[in-house]
Amino acid sequence: MDQLLRIDMGAQGGPKVTVTEPGEYEGLGGRALTSAIISKEVPPLCHPLGADNKLVIAPGLLSGTAAAMSGRLSIGCKSPLTGGIKEANAGGQPSQMIARLGYAAIVLEGKPEDGSLYKIFINKDGVKIIPDGSLKMLGNYDLVDKLKGEYGDKIGVISIGPAGEMKMSAASIACTDMEVRPTRHAGRGGVGAVMGAKAVKAIIIDDAGMKMRSPKDSKAFQEANKKWVEGIRKHPVTGQGLPTYGTNILTNVINEAGGYPTHNFMWGRFEGCTKISGETQAELENARGGEGSATHGCHRGCIIRCSGTFYDKDGQYITKQPEYETVWSHGGNCGIDDLDAIAMLDRLDDDFGLDTIEMGATVGVAMEAGLAKFGDTQGAINLVKEVGKGTPLGRILGNGAAVTGKVFGIERVPVVKGQAMPAYDPRTVQGIGVTYATSTMGADHTAGYAVTANILGVGGKVDPLKPEGQAELSRNLQIATAAVDSTGMCLFVAFAVLDQPETFQSLIDMINSFYGLKLTADDVTALGKSVLKNEKDFNLRAGFTSKHDRLPEFFKKEPLPPHDIVFNVSDKDLDSVFNW
């Protein structure tokens, strides 16, 4: 996995393929690679949908190997939603397949001017770029079915739905799962719009004939992977909680903490919480049964299996198990307490190719604007269908919560740098508000998600009970997360790493034995810092200042029930996050 596959979609005479050595990018993977390429090669002031932007699709350092949990795919570009650098990542099969084909990244460049829509087929024999007008405006599900008919059912597909073709800022990029369904999405920041601007509807990957990537020291790698698997399986979060309930296990607890944003961030508790909790969802899925119902992996090699499959009451497949963020965004945030309706909204989002967080937040803002009432399930479904159809209203909604709030004159719009906030109110857990405000990505819970900072020793020892330590903790978490995002590892491994130093060591040992390196925790920290430095630098050159590292005003003015607290971290503390 050491070559860059560059495809100039705007080349004279039609798209042109170049395969190059990684050069200065050697040894980078995942987010480290996407952010390095974007930071170095994309003019920060370019239009995100213009020819100068690039879409970088990069497997992690350990993707394509036998390492468990290594199937995350990073997708980077200049974001049409935030105007800054973006890395969104997804599970599914494509990361492992691209890595096995030997590519460290696929880089889409330029922009065709002939109005054609393309599909790109990649296998061991090379790359074919084919115009295919029959794919226009297909939903992701119909698209993948059509491609399976043409290329067989052993493929992986990276694709956009109608939202991406319409270049909406909430558009996602779908990756197919083990069942070759388009259920895993690089959701955030409008990456799908950039793929749409490149006029690429789908990348079809066939890794037939390719072997798993081989480590430099097979014995040491196998031993480290064995310890890694043992560590993940024995931890109560990764071995029990997540497989049993999925990420939606969080609903009851966040609600109890009074930090569950409800009715467009008006309240911190949702009355219908128990109807959509992970416990209720798992019981419903188990009762309905079906293949992979309540416990299922999103890619081969996943041993946590936090996902599942949602069937309706008649046993018909609807979508994958909606995650916590989706259940919140389309559920409590919109006053909806019906799991079947939430699953349908998730299905529509996946089919149209939309970020579920952005769309749920947008529908919440639209409800506040009076386009539907809070709790109106059919109203919410109709609004999302407007997006799929591309009506004038749908075009507004499909460009996210910030645009929708502006168009309808709503003050309470939960975004940072134009990107909608996820499912944790920053007034209740103020440290996550620091991450929302200062992340290079816009409001993003996963930007400071890798709770491994203390194990890594990032930033030295922080007194966890010192109130002013929030900026420091957020910084350390963002550094640790940037490092984990570069490995291709699912972020959920962080819990086993947090509590079990030997599990963290086995991760380092896997990287070292695979590449013949002698990395230490300090090196991992340095990697995380360099990723953030690239991203911060890009954003500065794109015109971002400290004034963009702020939460919306209402978080400082509107006390959140039940605890009646406002966000009170000072601007000075926020500005200190990137001082290291």
Binding site: P236, V253, E256, V429, G431, Y449, D463, L473, F495
Partner: protein, 209 residues
């Protein structure tokens, strides 16, 4: 704070007592009740640790290792030995949780500063007396200790019990062997027609066989 369902002093009649004798594989259907919360008789004015170990009968090791997150009236508890439970306090228990928030909300979390606004501040005002506590159990915990608590008996509002019976009657008909109201055996099918005091307390005990 918990709803004041067991403090209805205007009622003169004793609260109804419902006892269900069911197969143990039916335990899962009662987990709904713990998500919403049930009232349990308890010595209050004591610490969370005392409540967990002496009222619920949990071992200190279970509290230390298994119960990773504790909320007292919606605030995250770091030290169960210094948080005092008042009468009708709400306490919620969870096993280890994923996500940054899961890690942040843990008792004694390295990331506790990030949720300082909702951290429970310890107190030393101990004055033990009889009372009630609203108990919520989430994720893995009801499967591990729920049956024991139901075996001792819990209080819930009549309309909550009615909703539960409406939702779960079919399963109860499959696995419940006997139901007694105030010591008298009743037909399971007629439980739905039973008049329960909507806003007042009903005592529910479940004997798992």
């Amino acid at each position: 704070m918990a709803p004041d369902i067991a403090k209805d002093h205007t009622r003169t009649a004793p609260e109804p007592h419902l006892v269900l004798h069911t197969n143990s594989d039916l335990a899962i259907i009662f987990h709904d009740l713990f998500q919403e919360g049930v009232l349990v008789d308890a010595k209050v004015g004591t610490t969370v640790q005392t409540f967990l170990c002496e009222v619920l009968g949990l071992t200190p090791q279970y509290v230390e290792e298994r119960i990773q997150t504790i909320f007292l009236n919606g605030k995250a508890v770091d030290d169960p030995l210094s948080a005092v439970i008042a009468d009708h306090a709400a306490i919620a228990l969870s096993a280890a949780m994923p996500g940054l928030l899961g890690a942040t909300l843990r008792k004694g979390s390295y990331y506790a500063a990030m949720r300082g606004e909702i951290s429970h501040e310890g107190e030393n005002n101990l004055h033990p007396h009889e009372g009630k506590v609203l108990l919520k159990l989430f994720n893995l915990i009801p499967g591990e200790i729920g049956s024991f608590i139901l075996g001792r008996g819990v209080w819930l509002k009549g309309d909550s019990l009615k909703k539960f019976l409406e939702k779960r009657l079919l399963r109860l008909l499959e696995g419940c062997l006997r139901a007694d109201i105030d010591g008298k055996s009743v037909d399971l099918k007629k439980l739905l027609q039973q008049e329960w005091p909507a806003d007042a307390a009903v005592f529910l005990r479940v004997c798992f066989l």
